[in-house]
């Protein structure tokens, strides 16, 4: 068997591969059958709708150019927003993958290395059981921060300026700029830009509340002057987001 053609072909080639596939892929697959895969319309939640409507308010002209105008009538109106929001979310995810964002930003919080203190609650399996995690965006490297709790932490205009020129709001950032998400200036995001902002705001929007992930106090030994910026930002953003969420739920 050990040196014969059939032994190598069937035992090593097919047999061992099949064993590994069953034990390492089929087992988790079967285990997670109890979490049905969520489809796109189910992924639009109140927090995301708030952010998406905020995009329409902040950038009325680019938004209309990209998505058109909502129809009259309450039911149609609501359905229109949900559909456009789902469309933007799915397109944003395609851009996130196509631009290779996931090579420098992860999307999972590990239960070690104080990650829950920095980012928020540790990732759970059911969070990933949806069509936008096919393939899953766990990521591989963190040049920039993890993003799975990013939604709602920063405002849409912060993200727009950041995508247009990261260094203007994040000093020393090695992130590339993405001018092709905009028609010339950061206050004119095009459809790509709007979709990308929607996707980023979706990440973690299913959480009960947004964690104050940067609300820790940096040690005086590490940095003599505390940086007020991110704290002020988070504090300013969060109540607004919560208020909006409450508004959506009524």
């Amino acid at each position: 068997m050990f040196e014969s053609k059939s032994g190598i072909l069937y035992v090593a080639g097919l047999g061992f591969f099949a064993l590994a596939f069953v034990s390492n892929a089929l087992v988790p697959w079967l285990m997670y059958q109890r979490y049905p895969e969520k489809q796109l319309p189910e992924l639009v939640n109140a927090n995301l709708r708030y952010q998406f409507e905020d995009l329409a308010r902040r950038y009325p002209e680019p938004f209309e150019e990209a998505f058109g105008k909502p129809p009259g009538g309450d039911v149609e109106h609501n359905a229109w927003w949900n559909e456009r929001c789902a469309e933007a979310l799915s397109y944003g995810r395609k851009l996130y993958v196509g631009e290779g964002c996931w090579h420098c930003h992860s999307q999972f919080v590990r239960p070690v290395s104080n990650e829950d203190k920095r980012w928020g609650p540790v990732s759970r399996s059911e969070e990933y059981q949806n069509v936008l995690q096919r393939p899953v965006m766990f990521g591989t490297r963190r040049v920039g921060p993890d993003l799975c709790r990013e939604g709602g932490r920063r405002s849409n205009d912060w993200h727009a300026v950041h995508f247009f020129n990261p260094e203007s709001v994040s000093e020393g950032s090695p992130m590339p700029e993405y001018p092709w998400f905009f028609s010339g200036s950061p206050d004119r995001p095009n459809k790509k830009g709007l979709a990308m902002l929607t996707y980023i705001q979706w990440l973690g929007s299913w959480q009960e509340s947004y964690p104050y992930y940067e609300a820790y106090v940096p040690s005086a030994l590490i940095r003599p002057e505390p940086e007020p910026e991110p704290e002020a930002e988070a504090a300013a953003e969060t109540p607004a987001a919560e208020a909006a969420a409450a508004e959506e739920q009524q």
């Binding site: 050990f2 040196e3 053609k5 190598i8 072909l9 090593a12 080639g13 061992f16 591969f17 590994a20 596939f21 034990s23 390492n24 892929a25 988790p28 697959w29 285990m31 997670y32 895969e37 851009l95 993958v97 196509g98 631009e99 290779g100 964002c101 090579h103 420098c104 999972f108 590990r110 239960p111 070690v112 290395s113 104080n114 990732s123 759970r124 399996s125 990933y128 059981q129 949806n130 995690q133 096919r134 393939p135 899953v136 766990f138 990521g139 591989t140 490297r141 040049v143 260094e167 000093e171 020393g172 950032s173 090695p174 590339p176 700029e177 820790y216 940096p218 590490i222 940095r223 940086e227």
Partner: protein, 462 residues
Amino acid sequence: MTTETVQTSRRGLVDEKLVGFYFGAALLFLTVSMLAGLLMSFQLIRHNPLRGLELFSPGRWRMVHTNAVAYGFLANGFLGCLHWAIPRLTLQPVLDRRLSWLIYAAWQLVVLATAVGILLGEAQGLEWGETPVWVDPVAQLGLLLVAVNFMTPIARMKGPMYVSLWYFLAAFVWTFLTYAMGNFVPEYLVSGTSAGAVGGLFIHDLVGLFVTPLGWGLMYYFVPILTKKPIWSHGLSLVGFWGLAFFYPLQGIHHFLYTPIPMFLQYGAVVSTIAVELVVTTVVINFFGSIWGNFDIVKRNLPVRWFYTGMVHYFLTCLQCAFQVTLTFQKIIHFSDWVVGHAHLVMFGVFTMWIMGMMTYLIPRVLGRDWASQRLCEYHYWLSTVGIGVMAADLILLGLFQGWSWAALEPWDVSVDFSQPFWVLRVLAGLAMFGGLLAFLTNILLTLRSPVPAAGSVPAAA
């Protein structure tokens, strides 16, 4: 070994022109890949000369970098070497020469289409599975044809199979299955955590079941030929092959430790990773046993030096792997540049070096003339060796600093700021490696322009 008899009857068996064409394509894609890597490394030190241009987006070129290495360089390089080795080992030609050329042309189209698709923003979200949807079925068919074309001579041959053929035979089956698993299952069938498990299995198997067995199979072929000594122990060869075949595919999940993937599966992946390190040690011992008392050959014979440098790196990466796979190390090094250093040490330090060694040996034979410049060959070796050594050490050390900084809850930008000097050193190391490649390409051009020697004279072993 059978190699002696094989060498005498090579005429008509080997399509040497095809070997040369495969090497040409491999080196072209390696050049593209290294330029792409340099672009990304310049972006990290914030000196990207091509900022803000959509088609030169560093994120997209980073994917070109990894895909061009896997499918453009490694696949082409290995296919060239296989077209040399398999007909000689089996004393049978491949199934069909026209099919070989068809595969060659189709494969270059696959690689080009992948690169174009990625640059247009059509990538898919799995490492090494970024190949756009419309390329996947063509690539799958190509791999099937490769398997059929090469497995036919192996099936037709009489008598016992040499070690290399065990590896090749298994690798053809594994590569086909691995590509199918990685490019269809996590994209269409499963999502979420289980897609992570399949994805981990895919990126791992692509290294372990496509690159590694082809690499070791070729080492088992070329080392005895160049050293004119048999492999030290047949028993260890058996342990190496079967150990790899059993343990390697079981480790995919070790890429996603501390994810929501069930913990017992993570432990299984950790244990089999440590087990494969023991197997690797037996293989490395076997190869060093084969040149025991004859170490001088590493100084005299450049291809052998490439091979054994690669083996030292192989042992180091696998040793590193046995540590980094533990949950203790993972806490710190996951997501850091340690992993990037490890990946370069494997892909460049081992497999690229082996292919470079085989090219250094085969190109004069394919072209029918000696290397134009031995000195450029030496430059190629030393620039590559020093470059990868510096890059790997630099990134692995940086990874520890990043991991500790994150765990200590330092503000995120601190980790980016102190990475800068390390990233600058990485650019310099990358430039050295690229310089080595340029020396090699120059040498090939000079050799092509040098006169063909009179018939009958055999090129010296570089």
